[in-house]
């Protein structure tokens, strides 16, 4: 055999083995982290210290901003989906707790993804589940501040603060309502889909990714219905809650995705 032939053969074998290797071990599932970076308009949200202006030109100083996000679904470019398992799909994001602001999905199958879909709040099935199935952030005893006991159900989005330096100028927006048990009640569950910038984006064991999501707290009061904070400073469920839910469903946007 000529030397050159031997060379070509060896390259062919190496290529063959390499390609075999690729086929026998496809890319496995990877980690996707999703950060909920709370903002106020174009600025970072700072609790208690900073004043912001809403669309109605009201001043707002936030002291609290908390919300449930749940039931995450990642959609690939071919339309197929990865549904995050029920037991690990409920999160409580709290501006006062840095750790809560990044949630992790450790087993997202490899693929090219275009969007993520999730629910703002806690779905009706979980909202009516036995107490033993409500652990972690859904424990109504340890997270009693995010639960209405008199009208059984989680508070989906809760924000509080002041709208003026004057005493008593507090705003409180608490929105919940999953639709009721055996008799209907207000349903403010919202499902949102966020398209990835630069989609499709590869996820997988070789592509751990970090989704940086901006969440604009001002959109609780800005949107289809621009709320005048001094006129309507307190909404705890009730007739004004749906307008607020329709506003805040637009507060999420994926700013960028980077390698984890």
């Amino acid at each position: 055999m000529k030397k050159s032939h031997l060379f070509i053969l060896s390259i062919a074998i190496v290529t063959f083995i390499a390609s075999c290797k690729k086929e026998s071990t496809p890319e496995g599932p990877g980690m996707v982290a999703m950060e909920f970076d709370n903002r106020a308009g174009s600025a970072d949200l700072e609790l208690n210290t900073t004043w912001y202006k809403n669309a109605n030109n009201d001043s707002m100083n936030f002291s609290l901003f908390k919300y449930y996000v749940s039931n995450f679904i990642f959609t690939k470019e071919d339309g197929s989906t990865y549904v995050v398992p029920k037991e690990s799909c409920y999160f409580l994001i709290d501006e006062a707790d840095d750790v809560s602001q990044t949630v992790e999905f450790p087993d997202v199958p490899a693929g090219k993804y275009t969007s993520v879909t999730f629910t703002i709040g806690v779905d009706s099935l979980k909202s009516t589940a036995p107490q033993s199935e409500r652990t972690g952030v859904l424990d109504v005893t340890t997270h009693a501040d995010m639960y209405w006991v008199w009208n059984s159900g989680y508070i989906f989005v809760k924000t509080e603060g002041t709208f003026s330096q004057a005493a008593g100028a507090d705003f409180m927006y608490h929105v919940g309502g999953f639709g009721g048990y055996s008799s209907p009640t207000q349903n403010n569950l919202k499902t949102v889909t966020l398209t990835f910038p630069g989609a499709p984006v590869s996820f997988g064991s070789n592509n751990h990714k970090h989704i940086h999501t901006f969440v604009d707290a001002l959109k609780v009061v800005n949107g289809t219905t621009n709320i005048s904070v001094p006129t309507t400073p307190v909404v705890m469920g009730g007739p004004n809650a749906p307008a607020i839910a329709n506003n805040y469903k637009n507060m999420f946007v994926v700013d960028h995705i980077e390698a984890e």
Partner: protein, 341 residues
């Protein structure tokens, strides 16, 4: 001789049978629903019934340590003698003598109840108990503090151990024990129940009352439980309490309140969600003469033939009340398994 033994055996067998029936409601050998009741709504799979849990729940129900200053128990506003309503109280006074806004309802047959409170705000009995405990005008306490108090009591450690297998006291176990006691309070041994079972007869007045009841009241107070569990505006003059609307935020639910069961109604005075009527006469007079149509949500049943309310003569009212008293269940009112001591 053999004949004699057979005879004795037969008699003993019958006595035992009778005894068993007398022991109804059967809550000592698992939770056995009365055969003429609908399907149980309470989730017994999640919280299996046991006598030990019931006993623990009974102790908790009557324990004032559930309140901030250890003065108010569940039993304070839910008295067995009043079919677990609050006798003589339009609304109840809780801690520091603060008054609530709604009448303390009678408690029985809760295993069949889909929604709790006059406005149906709670749909899971296990998640009910947190309400009166946290309410600032009722017990003004927190569940974690209650749990801490109970942990210092060796009797409770032993009772939790008996009920749940270990002495660990958790919020879930606390709630489940209270629920078990509450669902055990079954009322199905009134004179009317005995009449249905063919064991007794109604007087002619009671029978006439039953017939009238079926014509005039049973569309809402329906079935063996004497309620359809719906929310209705029954034509009371309105107050600032919007009832079901407060929970559902559906405009057509304004001023609607849950239809209560009429079992033991003789004992659960005062009546209505705000306890405004003291006697059954007043209640029937409301339906015959005082129904008002000041809102858009008045029940259509109360405005038939362009007439407000339910037409009833005084004689008819007397007969209906006579029938309503056959719904009094003296065995339930005196059952030591539900008593404080």
């Amino acid at each position: 001789m053999l004949k004699k033994i057979y005879y004795i055996a037969l008699v003993v067998f019958f006595i035992q049978c009778t005894k068993k029936e007398d022991a109804q409601p059967n809550i000592d050998n698992g939770f056995v629903a009365p055969t003429n009741f609908p399907a149980v709504r309470y989730n017994l799979t999640e919280n299996p019934y046991s006598n030990e849990k019931r006993e623990l729940g009974r102790k908790l129900f009557y324990d004032a340590r559930l309140s901030r200053d250890n003065t108010v128990s569940c039993g304070s506003c839910h008295q067995q003698v009043a079919s677990f309503a609050h006798a003589g109280h339009r609304v109840s006074h809780g801690i520091d003598n603060k008054l609530g806004t709604r009448n303390s309802p009678a408690l029985f047959n809760l295993a069949w109840q889909p929604l709790f409170f006059w406005d149906g705000g709670v749909g899971d009995l296990d998640l009910f108990h947190i309400n009166p405990i946290q309410n600032p005008v009722e017990m003004d306490e927190t569940i974690p503090t209650v749990i801490d108090k109970l942990k210092t009591d060796n009797n409770y450690l032993a009772l939790f151990n008996k009920a749940f297998g270990t002495s660990e006291i958790t919020a879930i176990r606390f709630n489940q024990a209270l629920s078990t006691f509450l669902i055990s309070i079954v009322s199905n041994q009134s004179k009317y129940d005995e009449y249905l079972a063919g064991k007794t007869t109604l007087t002619s007045t009671e029978q006439a009352g039953l017939d009238l009841f079926n014509q005039k009241c049973a569309s809402c107070h329906s079935g063996i439980l004497f309620t359809d569990f719906s929310f209705r505006n029954n034509g009371l003059s309105t107050t600032s309490d919007f009832g079901r609307f407060r929970v559902s935020v559906i405009t057509t639910d304004s001023f609607k309140f849950k239809v209560p069961s009429l079992r033991n109604v003789e004992k659960s005075s005062p009546y209505m969600h705000d306890g405004r009527f003291n006697t059954l006469d007043e209640v029937l007079n409301h339906y015959s003469n005082s129904v008002v149509n000041t809102t858009t949500t008045l029940d259509t049943i109360l405005q038939r033939n362009n007439t407000l309310g339910i037409p009833m003569t005084n004689d008819e009212k007397t007969k209906i009340i006579s029938f309503l008293k056959t719904l009094t269940d003296n065995k339930f009112l005196n059952d030591s398994r539900f008593s404080e001591f």
